[in-house]
Symmetry: C2
Subunit: 195 residues, 2 copies
DNA sequence: CGTCTATTTGAATGTACTCAAAAGCGGTGG
DNA sequence: CCACCGCTTTTGAGTACATTCAAATAGACG
């Protein structure tokens, strides 16, 4: 059992690589272990890493002028995470990324990302599929935010991401759902009472 | 001036095609003119076409159990449009697509889409970039929905898509912003008064 | 044990919705 | 060309959903 098995297996779901391609890909990665509650990216920093989460869980969020926090996404084992807009366009980060628990990641720098796509065009396909899935998932989120009230959104969240719901604080869930922690607390009380 | 110039030019922004590749690509497209206020896709139908908008404007939306309409996106000239989730996964459509004004499109069927990606892998890159942009745009929309109130969202919408704002009904804008037409009317009155 | 943060509770307030009715506007047929 | 129809937009009253602020309680961590 080798440490790169998980990421290679994850990629093999979408594209088939030769042994040489696998080795080249792996040579571009930097493995990193990160303690829990560590900020790995902050607003304004250059965002030049795309991270594959080998173990653990991370969260990306942004702050508005008033300091209000909005969770952009929770990312668990086998997900890819970065400030995608800033990574792709080489802009200073507009988001924060922090570990929820102790985590390990494989980082792919923007430079190596570009090399990879040139050297092994199959990765264009891989990342197309990754982006496709991210797009349709995000589109669904937009629509749910518009059509459902907070109680329904919370119920769906619990249902869709039970492993996330049980590992993060209510405050973080509230900031993902776009409501205050106080109101989420009310919703939970109501749901306990109702059933 | 040839009718395919626009779509080829649009693609040339991201990938370089040989004359033969261009011809092959074009051979996969079906040109279609559509009168205004025509539904080109309805919920439950098979969604096997990806459309490049050559001229005009379309809108995609979905309906919830109570019949409430939510606009997923407005798509103008030079945009690509479909029910992406259902197109990619070959599921019955969960959305509706209709023309806002008289429009013309180039349709690429799912079968031809798959052929195209196999025959000219450069299109993997093209669609990766398309999906990337769609993803980051949609992510921004999610965050704005969570952090901004209706008045701010409307102001940004007007600012970001002035050409859309001036061509669609307030009811449609309201359904994109996730508010009622009545409330949008109030917002507009307030904004007139304030400046 | 003490400190810091998360969560709960409650009152007052603000934001957005529902329902109903009236006014405006575009298209169609006589 | 005008009258009518259907749909959009406006207006208003009453209500529901969600926030703010403050304070009390509970949990996590050193």
């Amino acid at each position: 059992m080798e440490i790169h098995d998980a990421i290679l297996k994850s990629i093999a779901k979408h594209i088939v690589l030769t042994k040489e391609e696998q080795d080249y890909f792996i040579s571009l990665l930097v493995y990193k272990e990160i303690p829990k509650k560590t900020t790995v990216l902050a607003e304004g920093q250059s965002c030049n890493q795309l991270s594959y989460i080998h173990s653990g869980a991370l969260r990306s969020y942004c702050l508005d002028e008033k300091g209000k926090e909005s969770t952009i996404m929770f990312a668990m084992t086998d997900w890819w995470l970065t400030d995608m807009y800033c990574f792709l366009n080489e802009k200073p980060a507009i988001t924060f990324i922090e570990t929820i628990e102790e985590s390990s990641v494989f980082n792919l720098s923007k430079v190596n990302f570009d090399h990879l796509l040139t050297a092994i065009p199959k990765f264009e396909r891989f990342f197309r599929i990754l982006m496709q899935n991210a797009y349709t998932r995000e589109q669904l989120r937009s629509i749910e935010n518009l059509t459902l009230n907070a109680e329904e959104r919370y119920a769906r969240f619990i249902n869709k991401y039970p492993h996330i719901a049980s590992n993060v604080t209510q405050k973080q869930i509230a900031s993902y759902l776009g409501i205050t922690p106080e109101f989420l607390s009310l919703i939970r009380k109501k749901q306990l009472r109702d059933k």
